[in-house]
């Protein structure tokens, strides 16, 4: 090994396989400019190039590939939502995820675990039953399990009755999975790059150019680009970019913090979530417990950490798994989440012609990466919103036709 490392260090050429071709200079014009090089932006680029033959595409990324919320989520994939619109949409995403390693010829470490949303009250149990019925009606595996079954399926849980919030049952979603989130961005980025898409990192969009209500180009800190169409996929900064394009979004930017423990031997197969306790826990393939909770209590454009988050989250994790009390935290981080009033995303057309939005991904964006890429690419290529994403259009707010997913999209907001 030391000789291999020495050889690597002294090599004149770059010895490892590159994920992306270096993009070089910005071209003066592109058919489509994708603002944001996270999972969503790269997936849109991939499906445009692969299935719609649109390869004159630039992905413009302010930082580095997958360095935003793509690398900051807790990597949970599931489709047991509450509204039929939500369930159908996320179900297609789960199906695409199941085949994604083959599709991209890149291992995303997709790991099907089973997802348990705990109920601590009768009211929560009723909602679980409701979700299970909506899910089953739409062909999604989802069922209610009570304490005796839960004890067999997740024996690690503290099911005693003399705790502050005893567990009454859970919504069990067998296809619930986790994946390596960075690999999803790298896989899509690499595949898009091989199909001819230019990925420009360290490039910031500073303006949107329009003539007569129609998009004509974007301005970046490396020069202006003409383009036929553009889409923004920049969670956290969605409102800032929308303001450049001349419209407002129903979004508040609120930090979402998460953390991982030191690596432990594999002991927890299931993904465990509790809405009442504001916590979700899974064990990654590296053995770290990946833990997250509710968003911060007020809007902020910052990825700072707070002690309140750790105290609150860990107290609740210990309610579920008291034996973890001596385990140490390894690292902690935050992402900036686009929170919408109905806890559903905002996708599709905007008031500016040929400019599209992919925003409002709050705390539920990673699991939608493949379906967003596929369906937004279809929208950009054809100009018409596919049925699957039409309910999430920006104009739904003016029509007061919201898609309420508060009970199923995340925890404790």
């Amino acid at each position: 090994m030391p000789f291999g490392l020495l050889k690597y260090g002294l090599s004149r050429t770059y010895p490892a396989k590159r994920h992306f071709a270096p993009a070089g200079a910005l071209k003066p014009s592109y058919d489509v400019v994708i603002i944001g090089g996270g999972g969503h932006g790269l997936a849109i680029a991939y499906y445009l190039a692969k299935y719609h033959g649109v390869t004159n595409v630039a992905v413009i990324e302010k930082g580095y590939i997958g360095g935003g919320n793509t690398g900051r989520n807790t990597a949970i994939i599931r489709s047991n939502y509450l509204t039929p619109e939500g369930v159908r949409f996320y179900d297609e995403s789960v199906r695409l995820f199941q085949q994604l390693s083959q599709e991209l010829d890149y291992n995303i470490l997709y790991s099907e675990r089973g997802h348990f949303t705990l109920a601590h009250t009768d009211a929560a149990l009723r909602t679980m039953r409701w979700r299970a019925e909506v899910n089953k009606h739409l062909g999604v595996e989802s069922e209610l399990v009570l304490r005796d079954e839960l004890a067999k399926m997740v024996p690690q849980l503290d099911l005693s009755e003399d705790v502050r919030y005893p567990i009454l049952g859970a919504l069990y979603h067998a296809p619930g999975a986790i994946a390596r989130h960075d690999a999803v961005a790298w896989g899509y980025g690499g595949a898009a790059s091989r199909l001819g898409v230019d990925i420009h990192q360290q490039t910031t969009v500073t303006g949107i150019v329009a003539e007569g209500g129609r998009l004509t180009g974007v301005v970046t800190d490396r020069g202006a680009i003409k383009c036929g169409k553009a889409v923004q996929a920049v969670a956290g900064d969605s409102s800032v970019l929308a303001a450049m394009a001349g419209f407002k979004l129903p979004i508040r930017t609120i930090p979402l913090q998460a953390c991982v423990s030191q690596p432990l031997k594999p002991f927890l197969d299931a993904i465990v979530v509790s809405g009442s306790l504001h916590v979700y826990v899974s064990q990654s393939s590296r053995g770290e417990l990946v833990m997250g909770g509710a968003t911060d209590p007020y809007p902020l454009y910052s990825t700072r950490s707070s002690l309140e988050f750790k105290e609150g989250l860990i107290a609740h994790v210990l309610e579920l798994f008291p034996f973890l009390a001596e385990v140490k935290l390894l690292r902690q981080w935050a992402g900036m989440a686009d929170m919408t009033p109905d806890f559903s995303p905002v996708m599709g057309l905007t008031p500016l012609e040929n400019y599209y939005v992919d925003a409002g991904w709050g705390t539920w964006g990673f699991k939608a990466t493949p379906v967003v890429g596929k369906r937004m690419a279809e929208l950009i290529a054809t100009g018409e919103a596919p049925d699957l994403i039409a309910p999430f259009r920006l104009s739904r707010f003016e029509e007061f036709r919201l898609v309420g997913e508060k009970g199923a999209a995340s925890v404790g907001h």
Binding site: K248, L300, E308, F397, E398
Partner: protein, 104 residues
């Protein structure tokens, strides 16, 4: 622990406070357009920088205004709402015969 200065109660832990949204002009609900109402109820400026916001001290049920930088999280100033609002906000009754104009 982050401290916020309440105009009524002095410095308190920020966990005692609830965020209430940006201070915006309230449109007349009976006379504004649907677009204005949507903007007021659902759309957000979501400004990067110093913003004037409503905050609520929950234990004493006291609403006040804070100017806060949404990038650095610095609370620039807090003051009672009476500094901006001197009178109760009342809107005239809906015009006669207007049975839900502009409603979807």
């Amino acid at each position: 622990m982050k401290i916020m200065h309440c105009p009524l109660n002095g410095p308190r832990n920020i966990s005692e406070f609830t965020y209430g949204g940006e201070v915006e002009a309230h449109p007349d609900p009976h006379r504004c357009s649907l677009a204005e109402w949507t903007d007021f109820v659902l759309l957000e400026n979501n400004t990067r920088g110093v913003v004037r916001e409503w905050w609520f001290h929950a234990p004493t049920a006291f609403w006040f205004i804070a100017e806060r930088d949404t990038v650095t999280d610095e609370i620039v100033r807090t003051y009672p709402a009476t500094e901006l609002f001197s009178a109760r906000m009342d809107f005239p009754p809906p015009p006669a015969g207007d049975g839900g104009k502009d409603e979807p």
